[in-house]
C-alpha cells in the first residue's frame, strides 16, 4: 500500500463519488429495474381490476412477487401483505396489534436502539393508554434475554425487537426472543429491514410472528415494503390503519404499487440466490477496510458487537476527530456519521448513546455501509483517504494533543457554552 501521507490518487476501476452508505439506501440492482419496467409501460393495469386482462396480468405479477418474498423468509404467500415501506409496516404492525388485542392487554416491550419508526409509534401509543417498556442494550448493542423475560407480564401483548440495527449493524438474538415470546403467549414482531436478504432469516425457525421488510434496503425500489403476518401457530390479526376498499385481506387498503412490488419481489429472489456468497464477499471487504484503518491509526474502535453483525456494516469511532469534519474531508465518499453536527436535530446518535458511549465518541463515529456494488479497489481508496484525513484532523485536534501528552480528559472541567 502506497504512502498515505499524500492525497490518494484515484486508481483504475474506481469511479467517484463512491457510495458506501448502503444502510441508508441502496442502488437499484439493474435486474430489478428490468423486471419493473414493463409495469410502468405496457402492463399498467390495476391489480384489483378483476374483469380484464390488464388487471389479471398485474395481479399475476403481484402474486409472483408475494411468492418470491415468502420464499426468502420461509413464509407462505398468503402471509405477505404490501405497504408503502417498512415505516408503514412498523406502524401497521404495532398499532394494528395494539388495537386488535386491546382486550387482552396494553403492554408492549421493545428496546432502545430500535428505528424511529418503531420508537415513535410506541411513543404515540403511550399517549393512548398503552404502557411501553424500552429494554436497554449491553455495550455490544445486544439485549439481555433475562431483561426480556422479566419485562413480559400478563398484560403484554407485543414484543417488537429489530433483527439487525441500521446504525451499528448488530444482530439481535431473534430466535431466542421469539422462543421466549411463544412460551409466554406474546406476539413477536421484528423490524427485519436490514436483515432480510443479508443474513439468514426464517420466520418459522426464528419464531417470528410479524416482520417488516423494505424494498430500498435490498437493491429494490423506494416507496414499497412488505409485512409478514403469521397465519398459524399463532394466527395473528392486525387492525387496519388505512381504510378504503379492503385490499390485502382487509389489512391495508389502497391500489397496489405494482411496479414497486414487482421490484421488491425480484430483489428478494436475487437475495435468496446470492445472499450466501454476497455475505462472504461483503465480510471480506468490511474486514479489509477495518484492518487497514486499524493498522494505520490509533484510538479507533468498532461500535457494537463485531461477531453478531451485518456483513457489510462497519461503524467506527475515530476518537478526538469530529465526524462532520471527517466527512468533509472525504467528500467524494458517501458514508454517514453519528455526530450531532450531521443530524437535523443536532442530537448525537441515540443508538451509540445506548451502547454507553460518551457523546464525544458518538461525535467521532462514521458508519461505512458496504454493499453489493462496492469493490476492493474502492475499499482501498476509502481507507487511504480516511487515514489521511484523520491524521490531518488530529494535527488540528487539541484533544489528541492533550491525550498524547498524557492528560486525562475526563479530569478537565470543560467550559461548555
Amino acid at each position: 500500500m502506497s504512502e498515505v501521507s499524500k492525497q490518494a490518487a484515484v486508481p483504475a476501476g474506481v469511479h467517484l463519488p463512491i457510495y458506501m452508505d448502503n444502510q441508508a439506501t441502496s442502488p437499484l440492482d439493474p435486474r430489478v429495474l428490468e423486471a419493473m419496467m414493463p409495469f410502468f409501460t405496457a402492463k399498467f393495469g390495476n391489480a384489483a381490476s378483476r374483469n380484464h386482462a390488464f388487471g389479471w396480468e398485474a395481479e399475476q405479477a403481484v402474486e409472483m412477487a408475494r411468492e418470491q418474498i415468502a420464499k426468502l423468509i420461509g413464509a407462505t404467500a398468503k402471509e405477505i401483505i404490501f405497504t408503502s415501506g417498512a415505516t408503514e409496516s412498523d406502524n401497521l404492525a404495532i398499532k394494528g396489534i395494539a388495537e386488535m388485542y386491546r382486550e387482552r392487554g396494553n403492554h408492549i416491550v421493545t428496546q432502545v436502539t430500535e428505528h424511529k419508526a418503531v420508537l415513535d409509534t410506541c411513543k404515540r401509543l403511550e399517549k393512548h393508554g398503552y404502557r411501553v417498556t424500552y429494554l436497554p442494550v449491553k455495550a455490544d448493542g445486544i439485549i439481555d434475554l433475562e431483561d426480556l423475560k422479566r419485562a413480559i407480564d400478563d398484560k403484554t401483548i407485543l414484543v417488537s425487537i429489530m433483527a439487525a440495527n441500521n446504525e451499528i449493524g448488530v444482530l439481535q438474538p431473534i430466535r431466542e426472543i421469539g422462543k421466549i415470546c411463544h412460551e409466554k403467549g406474546v406476539i413477536f414482531h421484528t423490524d427485519a429491514v436490514q436483515a432480510v436478504g443479508k443474513v439468514p432469516f426464517n420466520v418459522i425457525a426464528d419464531n417470528v410472528d410479524v416482520a417488516s421488510i423494505s424494498g430500498h434496503k435490498i437493491y429494490g425500489p423506494k416507496g414499497v415494503g412488505a409485512m409478514y403476518v403469521r397465519r398459524r401457530n399463532p394466527r395473528v390479526q392486525i387492525a387496519a390503519q388505512i381504510d378504503g376498499g379492503g385490499h390485502e385481506r382487509g389489512m391495508r387498503s389502497g391500489t397496489l404499487n405494482v411496479p414497486g412490488i414487482v421490484g421488491l419481489g425480484k430483489a428478494c429472489e436475487i437475495a435468496a440466490a446470492e445472499m450466501e456468497t454476497e455475505a462472504v464477499y461483503l465480510r471480506g471487504l468490511r474486514d479489509r477496510l477495518k484492518a487497514k484503518l486499524e493498522s494505520a491509526l490509533d484510538y479507533i474502535h468498532v461500535n457494537g458487537s463485531i461477531e453478531n453483525r451485518l456483513p457489510g456494516n462497519l461503524n467506527m469511532s475515530f476518537v478526538y476527530v469530529e465526524g462532520e469534519s471527517l466527512l468533509m474531508g472525504i467528500n467524494d465518499v458517501a458514508v454517514s456519521s453519528g455526530s450531532a453536527c450531521t443530524s437535523a436535530t443536532l442530537e448525537p446518535s441515540y443508538v451509540l448513546k445506548a451502547l454507553g458511549l460518551g457523546d464525544d465518541v458518538a461525535h467521532s463515529s462514521i458508519r461505512f455501509g458496504l454493499g453489493r456494488f462496492n469493490t476492493e479497489a474502492e475499499v482501498d481508496y476509502v481507507a487511504a483517504k480516511v487515514i489521511d484525513i484523520v491524521r490531518k484532523l488530529r494535527e488540528l485536534s487539541p484533544l489528541y494533543e492533550m491525550v498524547k501528552e498524557g492528560i486525562d480528559l475526563t479530569k478537565i472541567e470543560w467550559q461548555a457554552h
Binding site: E322, S325, M328, C341, E395, E401, Q415
Partner: protein, 140 residues
C-alpha cells in the same frame, strides 16, 4: 448541506494551527467547549505587554468544518490587533464572513468565547498593574 467557499478554504488551509507554551507569561490560553458537545476550541495568543498587541495566535479545534473555520478565522483576525480591539470582534462578524447557516451560528459563538477566554487568561497572568521595568525586561 453546502459549505461556503471560505469555510472550505479554512478547512483545507487552516491558518495558524499549533501550540504556544501555556506556561509562558506572555501567553494567554482559552479552552472552550466540551467533547460531549462535539466542539472544543483552544485558542492561544502571545501578547506584547508594552503595546498590548497580539503578536502571535495559534489554534486547535475538535469540531465540524464550520467550527474549524471559525477558529482559524479568529486567529487571522486577532493577530496584529491590540487586546482591546480583539475583544471587539463579535460572533456575528464571523457568521457574515463565513456565510454560516443558522445551525452553525453556535460555532461562531464558541470562537468569540475562545478569543475572550484567551485574552482573559493573559490578563489574569499579567494583572491590572503596570509591570515594573525589570519585569518587563524579563518577559521579553
Amino acid at each position: 448541506m453546502a459549505y461556503s467557499d471560505k469555510v472550505v478554504d479554512h478547512y483545507n488551509n487552516p491558518r495558524n494551527v499549533g501550540t504556544l507554551d501555556k506556561a509562558a507569561g506572555d501567553v494567554g490560553t482559552g479552552l472552550v467547549g466540551a467533547p460531549e458537545c462535539g466542539d472544543v476550541m483552544r485558542l492561544q495568543i502571545r501578547v506584547n505587554s508594552d503595546t498590548r498587541v497580539i503578536e502571535e495566535a495559534k489554534f486547535k479545534t475538535f469540531g465540524c468544518g464550520s467550527a474549524i473555520a471559525s477558529s482559524s478565522l479568529a486567529t487571522e483576525w486577532i493577530k496584529g490587533r491590540t487586546v482591546e480591539d480583539a475583544l471587539a470582534i463579535k460572533n456575528t462578524d464571523i457568521v457574515k464572513e463565513l456565510a454560516l447557516p443558522p445551525v452553525k451560528i453556535h460555532c461562531s459563538v464558541l470562537a468569540e468565547d475562545a478569543i475572550r477566554a484567551a485574552i482573559g487568561d493573559w490578563k489574569k497572568k499579567n494583572n491590572t498593574t503596570e509591570p515594573a521595568p525589570a519585569e518587563t525586561a524579563a518577559a521579553q
